[in-house]
């Protein structure tokens, strides 16, 4: 691999896993900071979730996806797509690995947790979500 890679192959749409190798989501969009003094763009955060993806894709299907995903979320920040700060991003060779466990990112994968607490864990033989 050389030093110059397209964003599309290294970051965008790649699989995100947390520090314990649990799948978190995809890199659905990337937030860049374009310094006013004209310096090179800097990755501030990666966005994940259907809301970010829908907004990126645009069009009727994308808008619908973003709207549904936003509706499914709770909390005051639900108008904004889920962002993971660049400081939490570690190695990104095959997958994009985060340096923190999923537990430290309470706003990520909300539906997964909601389903775990309200639906799946109550049933016998489901296993433990936290081990």
């Amino acid at each position: 691999m050389n030093d110059h890679e397209s964003l599309r192959f290294t970051l965008l749409d790649q699989q995100l896993v947390d520090a314990e190798d649990r799948p978190v989501g995809r890199v659905d969009d990337v937030l860049l900071d374009l310094p006013a003094d004209g310096g090179p763009p800097v990755v501030v955060a990666v966005l994940t979730g259907a809301q970010a993806l829908g907004e990126r894709m645009g069009g009727p299907a994308g808008k619908l996806m973003a709207a549904v995903a936003s509706r499914l979320r709770s909390g005051e920040h639900r108008a904004e797509p889920v962002a993971i700060p660049a400081s939490a991003i570690g190695d990104h060779a095959d997958l994009v690995q985060l340096t923190v466990p999923l537990g430290d990112l309470p706003h990520v994968a909300g539906l997964e947790r909601w389903l775990a607490h309200h639906l799946v864990e109550g049933l016998p033989g489901a296993g433990d979500a936290r081990d």
């Binding site: 691999m1 965008l12 790649q14 699989q15 069009g59 095959d94 997964e112 639906l119 799946v120 296993g127």
Partner: protein, 414 residues
């Protein structure tokens, strides 16, 4: 290379699942229907389908061995989220129909064994499927129904017991034209149906996701290839055997196949009650296995698109969105089956629409398989590329022609 006993076991079991996995409700319906109307004049389609699916199953498993990520996973990063979303929605709709048909297939096999109406078996089958998804480990279940699926070989035995005129069978198999009284559009429509029934993308996704879940590595390449090279042609042989027995029993009296009971009738006539019982076990195993495979393939598709945790090796609570999706699809399909919609008709529509989606499933696999940057020394060779490209081109023709033929022939009625 030293061959250990455990490897041999792996060969056999994997091969069995490939055979069992090849035959599903689509084959049980389409092969018997085609055999009764066209004899073996469409057997060449099965030959083509076997070669095509072998090529893509091998390619997608090879991708999974190398990248440790299944084929559909790479479709999104390669072709963009829009393309992948289209494929996802299409395959979700088709799979809902297919799961309904497979579930009804389980119920129909139980009905023929017990005499109790199939609608009563549908919810029971759905509950058993759910328990298997919830509790049983991936490889064990795959192997149980793969092994039971071997009961389908009774169709091959039945061909001999019906004492066919072999030269007539051969003449039929080597003729590419509709039988007298049948039209070219109907002939081509059933060619499309066979392609849809036998080149099922879910087989490919399932094969590659399975390779990831079983944590196969490049050193397992040989075992994987042996499974492909032995398993799929044997599955194709079974398909041709179903066509052949239907030809021998139904063609001359002009009988049209409208039920699974007619698919197994030639076996009963050839081999008696024992044969019938074995055939029903085979039908049960094939449809049961295919129900699980279609459900999982859809769950995998969705989970991989959004990057969710997924999989049979995870306990349900570690992959709740995956588990919920699969359960919801099972519930939807059960409800669909309980509407008393004719499962045979639904099967025909499902396999035709499935053939429409084929090129969308093949293209990303071919692109990634060819990418030396991703695949390194495991990239496609000349053989994979030639066969893969030809298969892709033919699948595009099939995809474009499928729906017009469906309408023109009124789903094969005339």
């Amino acid at each position: 290379m030293r061959i250990k006993p455990s490897m041999l076991l792996g060969f056999t079991l994997g091969t069995l699942s490939a055979i069992g996995g090849f035959i599903d409700i689509g084959d049980l319906v389409a092969d018997a229907l085609v055999g009764a109307r066209f004899g073996l004049r469409l057997a060449w389609v099965t030959g083509f389908a076997v070669i095509g699916i072998m090529c893509y199953a091998e390619m997608s498993a090879r991708i999974a061995l190398k990248t440790r990520r299944p084929a559909f996973d790479l479709a999104r990063s390669r072709l963009g989220p829009g393309y992948a979303l289209g494929g996802l929605i299409g395959s979700f709709l088709v799979t809902a129909l297919l799961v309904m048909a497979e579930l009804s297939g389980i119920a129909l096999a139980l009905q023929l064994a017990s005499g109790v109406h199939y609608l009563l078996w549908v919810p029971i089958a759905a509950v058993v499927v759910f328990i298997v998804i919830w509790r049983l480990p991936f490889e064990a279940t795959e192997r149980i129904y793969g092994l039971l699926g071997l009961a389908m070989l009774v169709f091959v035995v039945a061909v001999w017991h019906l004492q066919p005129d072999w030269s007539r069978l051969w003449a039929s198999a080597t003729t590419v034209a509709p039988t007298s009284g049948e039209s070219w559009p109907a002939y081509l429509f059933f060619a499309v149906t066979l392609v849809g029934a036998q080149m099922t993308p879910y087989e490919m996704f399932f094969f590659s996701s399975g390779a990831v879940e079983s944590r196969w590595r490049p050193k397992d390449l040989v075992e994987m290839r042996v499974n492909v090279i032995i398993g799929f042609p044997l599955g194709g042989l079974l398909a041709v055997a179903i066509q052949a027995v239907a030809f021998l029993v139904f063609f001359d009296p002009g009988i049209r196949v409208e039920h699974i009971s007619q698919t197994v009738l030639p076996v009963a006539l050839a081999l008696g009650r024992v044969g019938l019982a074995i055939a029903l076990v085979g039908v049960f195993a094939a449809t049961f296995g295919a129900t699980l495979e279609t459900l999982f393939a859809t769950g995998y598709d969705l989970a991989q698109y959004f990057g969710w945790a997924y999989g049979e090796v995870q306990p349900p609570a570690r992959a709740t969105r995956f588990t919920t999706t699969v359960a919801a699809l099972l519930l939807l399909s059960t409800a669909l089956a309980l509407t008393t919609l004719n499962p045979i008709t639904v099967t025909i529509y499902a396999v035709v629409f499935s053939s429409v989606l084929l090129p969308f499933a093949f293209l990303p696999v071919l692109l990634v398989g060819n990418d030396k940057r991703v695949m390194g020394e495991l990239a496609n060779g000349r053989l994979s590329n030639t066969v893969g490209t030809i298969t892709l081109l033919i699948s595009i023709v099939v995809s474009v022609a499928a729906v017009p033929l469906l309408i023109l022939t009124k789903a094969g009625a005339s």
